[in-house]
Point group: C2
Chain length 289, copies 2
């Protein structure tokens, strides 16, 4: 939590992927009195979200441009935040600064996302930046270990949560998704490359087609970081849309690991959850149940 303390007086460089999380983090950091430099990524961040905000747009691979602008502004700390689609290699526009690293990046391109991101992270550190997790710059975005909103998980839901956490622990070493849908200790869906929202849409479709017949209002979306996952890149996150998709999938609620999952727009999450009668709970990653 205090990793960024020594450099609090330098502006934070925020490299922004897609979704609402990057700007939520930016606002949270600004509210703490620290200035923020936005570096949204072409192909990931949505230009309309950044209208009216000073921002330096980057193509994947523009490490030299980033370095020049971030150094000029006096940045030392860098945070990567938001959803990233793996770019095709031809979409990467390496500038001169980054060209010498291309063999390493290409090598990192095979293998899971963690592997790729860790390699890129190392490049930043070698070039004098300190890579922080978004939660280090804005601790209030972390999921607390308690209920949000008014709806409580039932005993049956708690069993599903424990089952889901066990599954995610077992599959973590394979560097795949971070979420699973469990109903009555029966795994309905596992997230891999499609992402959480697409998985929830699938559950809703399986229910509509009769392939899934569990009672509406049972079952849980369980999200947890992969074991050994680098928290500076890709902590699991939920937002208001997650709540809406969970409701459409006919589930009872959402469990995410406390202290290692990110809440995008907490007030809207709580409002959406109460409206849909969905529970949202932060749970200890290592449950004994």
């Amino acid at each position: 939590m205090t990793a960024g303390a020594g450099a609090q007086d330098t502006p934070l460089a925020l490299i922004c992927g897609g979704g609402s999380l990057p700007l939520a983090v930016a606002d949270s950091v600004s509210a703490r009195g620290r200035s923020v430099l936005l570096f949204p990524l072409h192909g990931a961040a949505n230009p309309t979200d950044y209208a009216g905000r000073p921002a330096h747009w980057l193509y994947y691979g523009q490490g030299g441009k980033f370095e020049r602008l971030a150094h000029a502004a006096g940045c030392r700390d860098v945070v990567f935040i938001g959803s990233l689609v793996r770019p095709a290699l031809w979409q990467i526009r390496p500038d001169w600064r980054i060209l010498k690293y291309m063999p390493r990046i290409l090598a990192a391109y095979r293998g899971g996302d963690d592997h790729l991101l860790k390699s890129i992270g190392r490049l930043f550190e070698e070039n004098g930046f300190r890579l922080l997790g978004a939660h280090e710059a804005a601790p209030e975005i972390l999921m607390p270990e308690r209920m949000l909103g008014r709806v409580q998980p039932t005993e049956r839901a708690r069993d599903d949560i424990a089952f889901g956490l066990d599954y995610l622990r077992a599959s973590g070493p394979f560097d795949i998704g971070q979420a699973v849908v469990v109903v009555d200790k029966h795994v309905l869906a596992v997230e891999a490359a499609e992402g959480t929202d697409a998985m929830l849409v699938r559950v809703a479709e399986m229910r509509a087609s009769g392939r899934v017949r569990s009672t509406v209002g049972t079952g849980v979306l369980v999200k947890a970081p992969k074991r050994g996952q680098d928290a500076r890149f890709d902590l699991p996150s939920i937002g208001p849309r997650t709540v809406e998709n969970v409701a459409r999938a006919g589930l009872a609620g959402i469990a995410v690991t406390a202290g290692s999952s990110i809440l995008a727009e907490p007030e809207r999450i709580v409002a959406a959850a109460d409206r849909a009668k969905i529970f949202v709970v932060g749970v200890a990653a290592e449950t004994d149940r």
Copy 2:
């Protein structure tokens, strides 16, 4: 393989779910000189597939009807084969014979498919039937440990196969799906309740939308039985449609565990694989690679 030998002179009762596999097994058993009694399940088997064949249609729960007809025909051995959608409880039409077992069936209904099927299997055995795997009645439907067709897996594909088998071993205890799509040791999709075909369609869609950017013609569908899975019920199977969906998903091929996976219509699989330049290989379940 010889479990059914002692009763070879009695007709085989074949309870048929969906897909082309049940009739392939029926034809295979008939070709071995054993008569077959077909019991297709309403809501699972397709009536047009059974046109012109003598068959006793069953609703889920008609254990008494099954017992009466199977005993009258002198059947002792029963094989369950084909895809089953878990029926809603209201779709089960228990007859008097089965009513006394309903508490046990309801208890089994929570939990994974294996759990449910094992419980139902025990009921058959208690009532004087012997439950066989389809491969015991028709050994030639089992996947051999060799290549089918002309296309060979590359070294890169073999790495993906080993990675996929490792993953399926780790997730097996959770009684979820039996298949995974791996590209360059990166898990693109995990099968749970949606089934293999739906998972492959998802991979094709992720490729079309740009979410998956791996080169067309790389990556493998890996199928393996869950650890401890009861081979009498639900061995993983592939058919010509699997090959077509793998081709549409832009993958290089299919690896299934030899001796514990079923081939529906092997000649059509080989023809489809050669046409699509897809490899199909039977691999040892415990690979050391």
